[in-house]
């Protein structure tokens, strides 16, 4: 279980997170939505301590990871899989080697075992024939799929998705959403997704959290979220320029 309490983060004079309080339900997918630049990715990066807060706590299974030394932090990070915005595949390796990389580096698995598991994951994300290709030879959607296969290879308890459909056409975006939903059903991980592709993302989410002005304005299941009376939520859903969200 992940719980964030009173999280503050500034970059120089820009106060991005101003006291975020949020709890992520175990085994469910929670999607953080908000306008571009509101701090969604900053919040996500605090969940596995890629960023450290200026103030506040991030608890993972009851441990405040914000204050952990590196060795203990790496033990906690083993529970996480991360799908980065651009997939972040190591471009000097083939797709197969990218997916096998965490197994080779973090486990003592033998090569036949690794091969079997990697091929299985690649098959699950629809890249069964693509193992020998380099990341540069893949389309945007394929890179995301390969990134997802790598994120899932260590059977993580928690998977973080940073804008998994950014830059993809609507058809590909839907296929990635379906893939996330399918893998969630198969593996049962706790998913935290950052996105602003609404309403498509509502279909795969158990909870929607709205981040605005550096705080969480709403946390509710998608149907409740859509019916919310909160003017910030309504302005965001309807994409209006007039309202409490300031548009530059």
């Amino acid at each position: 279980m992940i719980r964030v309490t009173n999280l503050h983060k500034s970059f120089r004079s820009q106060h991005v997170l101003k006291g975020v309080n949020l709890e992520f339900a175990t085994g469910k997918i929670t999607t953080i939505v908000g306008t571009s630049g509101c701090g969604k990715t900053v919040l996500l990066r605090h969940l596995n301590a890629l960023l450290r807060p200026d103030e506040g706590e991030v608890f993972v299974d009851g441990v405040d990871i914000a204050k952990l030394p590196q060795k203990e932090l790496y033990q906690i990070r083993a529970k996480f899989g991360v799908l980065f915005q651009g997939a972040a595949l190591l471009d000097s390796m083939t797709v197969f080697d990218n997916v096998a990389f965490p197994l080779r580096e973090k486990t003592k698995s033998k090569e036949p075992e690794i091969k079997k598991k990697v091929e299985e994951r690649l098959e699950q994300v629809g890249l069964g024939e693509m193992g020998r290709k380099l990341p540069a030879e893949l389309s945007g959607g394929m890179k995301k799929r390969a990134g997802l296969a790598r994120a899932l290879i260590m059977d993580p308890e928690i998977v973080l998705f940073d804008e998994p459909t950014t830059g993809l056409d609507p058809v590909l975006a839907t296929s990635i959403h379906q893939l996330i939903a399918r893998t969630h059903t198969t593996f049962g991980f706790t998913g935290v997704l950052v996105s602003h592709t609404i309403p498509q993302v509502f279909g795969i989410s158990d909870y929607i959290a709205m981040l605005a002005d550096g705080v969480i304005k709403e946390l509710s299941p998608p149907e409740v979220f859509c019916a919310s009376k909160n003017p910030v939520v309504q302005q965001f859903i309807q994409g209006k320029t007039e309202g409490p969200i300031q548009v530059l």
Binding site: R45, N48, L50, Q70, Y74, Q75, R77, A78, F80, V82, F84, Q85, G86, A88, L89, L90, D91, F101, P102, E105, K106, M154
Partner: protein, 256 residues
């Protein structure tokens, strides 16, 4: 006035923090380099990129440097009727100074800039964050093997530079300008002592460390954008050149 003082204070703290970060980066990389598990396959790979792939440019620059030294040495020594010392003068200059410094410059241009650009691109495309999020220490994986590889490759490249440089000077001095082959080598044999070779060896190792340290640091912390990568690459080369010359001065003054 307060705003100005604030800016000065911020600049000063940024500079001090930057210096602290660059030294702690080196300490981490060195500490992790000798901590198991050793990444032997990565060390071998980087010996190839730093050593083998720099070999041709180091050999070529060594050859021409030696030939220039042959001409210049002959011209200078002839003023004193001491052409027979050409071998000794060339070898001393190459072994103690020009070999380590020029081969370090070549490696900086050939490999150091590539290191900074590669790591900078990895930062910009979140590959370094991806390693960190997989609980793989990016300094141990990306920097430490490069440091060990450069410590092993630089003395060998310098030795090759020295030998080819001496050969270039021999070609010019003996084959072209008529210096006696016997006196060329006899002078060298009589004046070169172990300390000359040792000082060149120490210099080449320390230059290898400086190149990898600075170039990796600049790339590792490059701002995550295209201009950030180009800026990191340029800064890494310029700073490496300056640091090599500054450190060379200190080492020469200590080891003379």
């Amino acid at each position: 006035m307060l705003l100005f003082l604030g800016q000065v204070g911020r600049f000063a703290t940024d500079q001090i923090a930057g210096m602290g970060r660059i030294f702690s980066f080196l300490m981490s990389a060195l500490f992790l380099a000798f901590r198991p598990p050793a990444k032997i396959y990565l060390i071998i790979y980087h010996i190839k990129t730093i050593g083998v792939e720099s070999l041709s440019v180091v050999a070529l620059s060594g050859f021409f440097t030696g030939m220039v030294m042959g001409f210049q040495g002959y011209y200078s020594l002839r003023q004193f009727n001491a052409e027979s010392w050409l071998g000794s003068a060339t070898a001393l200059g190459l072994l103690r100074e020009l070999g380590p410094v020029l081969s370090a410059f070549m490696v900086t241009g050939r490999t150091g800039s590539a290191m900074a650009a590669e790591l900078g691109t990895m930062r910009a495309t979140e590959q370094i964050d991806a390693l960190d999020s997989m609980a793989i220490n990016p300094i141990k994986y990306l920097v430490s093997p490069r440091i060990i590889a450069s410590l092993l490759a630089m003395p060998l490249l310098t030795a090759i530079f020295d030998v080819i440089g001496i050969f270039g000077a021999y070609l010019v001095g003996v084959s072209l300008l008529g210096v006696s082959s016997g006196s060329f080598f006899a002078g060298m044999e009589g004046s070169i002592v172990f300390h000359d070779v040792y000082s060149g060896f120490v210099k080449s190792i320390s230059f290898g460390l400086i190149i990898t340290w600075i170039c990796c640091y600049k790339g590792f912390y490059a701002p995550p954008m295209a201009t950030g990568v180009s800026q990191a690459t340029t800064e890494s080369v310029v700073l490496s050149f300056v640091m090599i010359l500054v450190w060379d001065y200190f080492l020469t003054s200590v080891m003379l």
